[in-house]
C-alpha cells in the first residue's frame, strides 16, 4: 500500500469516527438547549422505545421465516420468563433450525 492510499484510508476512517461520535454528542447538545418539562420527557421516553420498534419492525417484515420464528420465540420468552440469554438462545436456535430445515 503506498503512502497516498494510506492517507486516503486514514481520512476515510477519520470521517467515520467523527460522524459516529459526533452524532452521539449532538443528541446531548440538542437536549441541553431544550428545557426538560413533562411534555419533553414524555416525548423523549416514547421516542426512546420507538427507536427500538422502528429498528425491529422492518427486520421482521422483511426477514425470512427463520427471522420471524426467532422473533416469535424471543418475544414469547421475554413475556414468560424475562431472561435475555434464553430469549437470544431460543431465537438463534429456531432461526438456525428453520434455515437448516427449509434452506
Amino acid at each position: 500500500m503506498n503512502p497516498a492510499m494510506v492517507w486516503q484510508s486514514l481520512v476515510a476512517i477519520g470521517t467515520m469516527v467523527f460522524i459516529a461520535y459526533g452524532s452521539r454528542v449532538l443528541g446531548l447538545l440538542v437536549m441541553a438547549r431544550v428545557p426538560l418539562g413533562p411534555r419533553v420527557r414524555r416525548f423523549v421516553d416514547a421516542m426512546s422505545s420507538s427507536v427500538l420498534i422502528a429498528v425491529i419492525t422492518p427486520m421482521i417484515v422483511h426477514g425470512d421465516g427463520g427471522t420471524r420464528l426467532a422473533a416469535l420465540a424471543a418475544g414469547g420468552v421475554a413475556i414468560a420468563w424475562r431472561s435475555p440469554l434464553l430469549a437470544i438462545g431460543l431465537g438463534m436456535g429456531s432461526a438456525a433450525l428453520w434455515r437448516w430445515w427449509f434452506g
Binding site: A20, V30, M31, F43, S49, V51, I53, I88
Partner: protein, 240 residues
C-alpha cells in the same frame, strides 16, 4: 421519586455490574466482530484498517456498510452520507439519555457517550426506567461490548475464512432477539400501544419510500410525537 435527580452517580461497582450484565451478549458480539474481521479480509482491507475501525468507530452497521466502499480510494461523500444516516439513531439514543446525564458536568456527559451503542443503551435505559441511577451500568455495558467487538475483529482477521455464512447459525438474529427482549420485557404501559403502532407503521413506510437507514429516525420521531399529542391523563400521574 422526588429525590432521584441527586442520586445520579457513576462508580466502579456500578460499572462492574454493567459489565457482568452485558457479558452474555458480549459473547455474541465476539462472533459479530469475528464476522466483521472475516468480511474485511475478504474485502481486501489491511488489518490495521479494520482494527482502527473497530477500535474507534465501534458500530457494526456502519462498519459493514463502509466495507462496500472499500478498498481505497474510498469515495468520501457517499461514505459520510451513509455513516450519517446510520448514526441518526445514536443521536436519538443519547438524547433519550439526557435526563439521566443532566446532573453531570458537560465533559463527563461527553465521555459517557463514547461507548454508547444500541445494546448497552437499551439495557441501561431499561434499568433507568426501573429506578436505576448508576451510570456505571451504561459505561460497563459499553466496555464489555467494545472489548468483545475488538477481540472478535482481531480473531476474524487472524483466522479469516472460517465462518462465511453467519446466518446459517442464526447469528444474524441475535440483535433482533435482544432488542425484542428489552422492548417486551420493559413492562410497557398499555397506552404505549398507540405510539408504538405509529412508530412501526411510519418506520415501515420510510423503509420502503425513503433513502436507506432513515426509517429509524422517522419511526422514533413519530412515536414520540404521538405520545405528546395524546391526552396526558392517559399516561397517569408520573409520566416521567
Amino acid at each position: 421519586m422526588a429525590a432521584h435527580e441527586n442520586s445520579v452517580r457513576l462508580d466502579g461497582q456500578g460499572t462492574w455490574r454493567g459489565i457482568r450484565m452485558m457479558l452474555p451478549l458480549a459473547a455474541f458480539t465476539v462472533a459479530f466482530g469475528l464476522a466483521f474481521g472475516v468480511a474485511s479480509v475478504h474485502r481486501g482491507l489491511a488489518d490495521w484498517e479494520a482494527m482502527l475501525m473497530s477500535l474507534f468507530v465501534f458500530a457494526a452497521p456502519s462498519q459493514f456498510a463502509a466495507l462496500e466502499l472499500w478498498p481505497a480510494p474510498v469515495p468520501l461523500l457517499p461514505l459520510a452520507a451513509i455513516t450519517l444516516a446510520i448514526h441518526t439513531r445514536h443521536m436519538l439514543m443519547s438524547a433519550a439519555l439526557y435526563p439521566w446525564l443532566e446532573p453531570l458536568p458537560r465533559r463527563k456527559q461527553f465521555a459517557m457517550v463514547i461507548l454508547l451503542t444500541d445494546s448497552n443503551w437499551a439495557m441501561a435505559l431499561g434499568e433507568y426506567h426501573r429506578g436505576e441511577r448508576n451510570l456505571g451500568i451504561l459505561l460497563g455495558g459499553g466496555i464489555a461490548l467494545w472489548s468483545a467487538w475488538v477481540i472478535g475483529t482481531a480473531l476474524g482477521l487472524a483466522f479469516g475464512g472460517g465462518i462465511t455464512e453467519p446466518e446459517r447459525f442464526g447469528l444474524d438474529v441475535i440483535m433482533l432477539c435482544f432488542l425484542l427482549m428489552i422492548v417486551v420485557g420493559s413492562h410497557p404501559r398499555a397506552i404505549m400501544v398507540l405510539p408504538w403502532l405509529a412508530a412501526a407503521t411510519s418506520a415501515l413506510f420510510a423503509y420502503w419510500w425513503l433513502p436507506p437507514y432513515l426509517h429509524v429516525l422517522v419511526g422514533a420521531l413519530t412515536g414520540g410525537l404521538v405520545a405528546v399529542l395524546l391526552p396526558k391523563q392517559w399516561f397517569g400521574a408520573d409520566a416521567s
